[in-house]
């Protein structure tokens, strides 16, 4: 039972971290390595804001917005001008950006492990089973709300429909009078806010440190590929699946191998089903 719940928590955080990443992948077409650093930025923004005296929840909320705005600025200043240069250039610009963010944060905040100044919370116990801590409970709630919100936004609002149109076919969307730049802006804003949120979650349950972005981006990449490149629902499924896999795997191997289990699962899935999980519900696209 607790394995199920731990898996759910791990999975939901992964999901939130990967969602934004896969949105940029889908609309912008490249692997945004800096996404991992946006997670870290969210956590450090929150630290910084609590440091100057804001209450934690307000600081967290502002940090999410701040991340969104920062992401938007990156899109405008860095990525928009090089869009025509191909995905490799975009990808490595994002690698450069990742270094830049990581270096600057490191220079300002130092390399020590930090943690949020929030009270330690106890696991809630119902009968004989241990349930989650209030924090974890809150995280699950926020993740659920975010996912539902995102689903409604993408499926039913005009802006959401535009974003999906751009993601499906940029040229066609342009012909239909959709402004791809505005969609890009919005996607960057949402994706970066989500990253910030994920980073804060990670900070609540673990520690805030300089390497968290790099550690997570590998995981995020995996979840996204497993979910079938840019498919948002695939990513959700993959995030949860990996979360469970990691917690279940711990029954068999030592906890040091926790992430190794995830990677093992990914390798296995890709070798058996090269198109990722998405291929389970979508027939293979045409070739040549």
């Amino acid at each position: 039972m607790d394995i199920f719940i731990y898996g759910l928590v791990t999975g939901s955080i992964l999901l939130i971290c990967a969602l934004g990443f896969s949105m940029t992948l889908k609309t912008e077409g490249f692997i945004n390595v800096a996404h991992g650093q946006m997670l870290m930025l969210g956590a450090y923004f929150t630290l910084g804001l609590t440091y100057i005296g804001l209450p934690f929840l307000i600081a967290a909320f502002l940090s999410v917005l701040l991340c969104g705005v920062t992401g938007l600025a990156f899109q405008r200043i860095l990525f928009k001008p090089i869009k025509s240069n191909g995905i490799l250039v975009q990808l490595f610009t994002s690698v450069g950006l990742a270094y830049l963010i990581n270096g600057l944060v490191g220079a300002i905040a130092g390399k020590r492990m930090l943690s949020f100044d929030i009270p330690i919370s106890r696991v809630v116990k119902v009968g004989d089973v241990y349930l989650v801590t209030p924090y974890e409970f809150m995280i699950l709630g926020i993740v659920l709300a975010t996912v539902i919100f995102l689903h409604i936004f993408l499926q039913y609002t005009i802006m959401g429909k535009h974003i999906r149109a751009v993601a499906d076919n940029q040229d066609l969307a342009k012909i239909r009078g959709i402004n791809p730049d505005r969609c890009s802006d919005l996607v960057w804003f949402i994706a970066s806010s989500l990253a910030g949120l994920g980073g804060i979650f990670l900070g609540i349950l673990g520690a805030v440190h300089l390497n968290m972005g790099w550690q997570q981006i590998v995981m995020i990449l995996s979840v996204t590929v497993l979910g079938g490149l840019g498919s948002i629902y695939g990513v959700m499924l993959a995030g949860l699946l990996l979360g469970f896999a990691m917690e279940f795997g711990l029954l068999f191997v030592s906890s040091n191998y926790r992430t190794a289990i995830a990677f093992g699962v990914i390798i296995l899935v890709l070798v058996i089903r090269p198109e990722g999980l998405q291929s389970l519900w979508q027939s293979k696209g045409r070739e040549t």
Binding site: F92, Y257, A260, G264, V271
Partner: protein, 309 residues
Amino acid sequence: MEGFLIFAISILTLAFVYVILCLALNIECGVAGMWDLGIVSYFGVGAYSYAIIVAPEAASYQHYLFGLESNPIYGIVLAIILGGVSAYLIGLPSLRLRREYFLITTIAFSEVLRITFSNENWLTNGVAGIYNIEQPLKSYFSPDNYIVLLFVIFLCFSVIVYKMVNKLSFSTYGLSLKALRENEALAKTARIEPSKQYHSVYVFTGCLAGFSGALYVWLNTLIVPTQFTPNVTFFVWTALIIGGIGNNRGAFLGAIFFVILLETLSFLNLSAELALVVSSLRIALVGLALILILRYLPNGLLREKPTVL
């Protein structure tokens, strides 16, 4: 010898290790067009192979396999062989995939390997690593002379690797790799069998990366698992992109440029606190350089050019 000169020489010596890694990456990813984010795997395998063969027997508080204190030549040979073997094995499942799928599988393998390095104490002494691995020929030279000697040896190695990779890039084999990169389906109609070419270039890359891993340990005299994070992979890619992907001279130059960029600031004599800040800032500097170069020279310092026959 003057401090700065020694510093410059040792930085270049380190750069030559990266040059080899970068050339290996170039023939695989620049010439053959594969999306490999796992080159650190073979670098790590090579480094550990060298380390456990060359290091003395494990002390009572340590654990690692072998510790034969054997001739470093064997260490290097073993590093090359095991680098190739691990590439061969990892290639078996992953080479069936392409692009993003290949990328993720290779990076996943590299993480699995790193986690193994840090947890299998019997093999690698775990996170504590292995220290004081004696440098070959060290006892015959004064420290200053030894630094110069290392520089010369590593320079020779990297020039040899350059020649080798360059020859291969412009051979018929290299042509087949470029054909695969450009249009795999059409390449098949030219009698090229993709799996065979990809697998061979992958193993070759593994051997070279293993070799540079051995040199890395030789230079550092120590090995810990944290040296083998995906960071290395990204560093080498960055160096290659800066230099000019697809161009061997670019790969050579890019690696040197990159290491100089990364290490120069460490020459400044700073207080411990400031040094920490600076060590972060130089990462930021690398990032900034990468962004600017891609903005204004999207093909790198030396771009790939048409081959004139």
